[in-house]
Amino acid sequence: AYYVDNGIGQTEKMHEMNSRDKRELQHEILTLLGLHQRPKPKSSTTKDSAPTFMLSLYNSITSDNGVVKDDSTFHTSHNVTVGDSVVQPIEGTDIIISFVNKAKKVPHLRHEKDRTFFFDFSDVTAKETVVGAELRLYKEKSKKWKKNHEFQIQVFMLRQGKDPEDKILDPLSNITVNANTEGWITFNMTRAAELWTRQPEANLGLFIKVLFVSKGREINPNKLGIVSYRGSEDKKPFMVGFFSSQELVYPQR
């Protein structure tokens, strides 16, 4: 409905929209948001790991009610990155997208779900330029090892080898942690995001290895306390992409 203030501190309903008006208004605002139709997400709880992170980012970037503090681009004092040489991707960013891990739906990844990730970048158009990207893994304390034992977490981008079955591990980022490290660990995924935005078909997913530094042998990431697809929703891994985009061009109607 359309309400107006009546001059003595109250609002009065001026006009009640019928369903056609309402549909047209929704369509107008969706077009304004650059969307063809309203999204219908299967799950839309903000308690999951990615929405929780994005909501805290939203609150830190915008002042009250979502107004962007500076009209140029997002900027924040929010420390979005922990560890690894991730560029501060917030400056110069217009769109920030979190990506859900869909490895269990990808045939060549679903047999090693503790180590594999797939983030679908196919909706990111060539109009968006990658400013930065990061993979966020949550690590719980591991009781199996001594506190000060060190482990190196290595993240690889899967690349196509010579024959269809052959996959190559392209090193992307690695971080060394202690067995009792707890919290979110961030890995720089900018190179992978740039490739997947430019060539969506090159996206074959990510693969991680965990190396017991002093013993020089691999261990299962679960043993180190890295939360994978089986963990609680608020600690599941996700990726965040920071993009700058050209001015929204509204379709002529």
Partner: protein
């Protein structure tokens, strides 16, 4: 006879044209405060409520946003409380002398700011997007 008839028709249509404008001015005058009548050009409050559009399932934040809009007169003399472009001042003069040829300056946004929206897309990814020029921060005569 035909000439006289034609002349009378022309006169009648001319007068109808004039009355149309007169009516408009009268009605605007009569409406006064509530209908954009004699208010100087200014920013008025308009709140767009996403929640009322039934979009809670996919818009995470905000619930709605202050879009504002511009309304009011840009007529001679333009007071300095209405930030008008220099050209708008000239335009009011021209409008005053030839009201049916040159329109008065328009009351429109002179400054805009961005609004960010946080929402789920179809795949359950979360998008935080900044939409530039969505909020009127000030109005003026242009």
């Amino acid at each position: 006879t035909q000439t006289a008839l034609r002349r009378r028709r022309e006169l009648y249509s001319y007068r109808e044209e004039q009355e149309k404008y007169t009516d408009y001015n009268l009605s605007r005058h009569k409406r006064g405060a509530s209908g954009g009548g004699r208010w100087p050009c200014q920013r008025r409050s308009l709140y767009v409520k996403f929640r009322d559009l039934g979009w809670q399932s996919w818009i995470i934040a905000p619930d709605g946003y202050h879009a504002f809009f511009c309304e009011g007169e840009c007529s001679f003399p333009i007071g300095n409380h209405v930030n008008a472009t220099n050209h708008a001042i000239v335009q009011t003069l021209v409008h005053m002398y030839t009201p049916f040829k040159a329109p008065s300056p328009g009351c429109a946004p002179s400054k805009l700011s961005a609004q960010s929206v946080l929402y789920f897309d179809d795949d359950g990814n979360v998008v935080l997007k900044k939409f530039p020029k969505m909020i009127v921060t000030s109005c003026g005569c242009h």
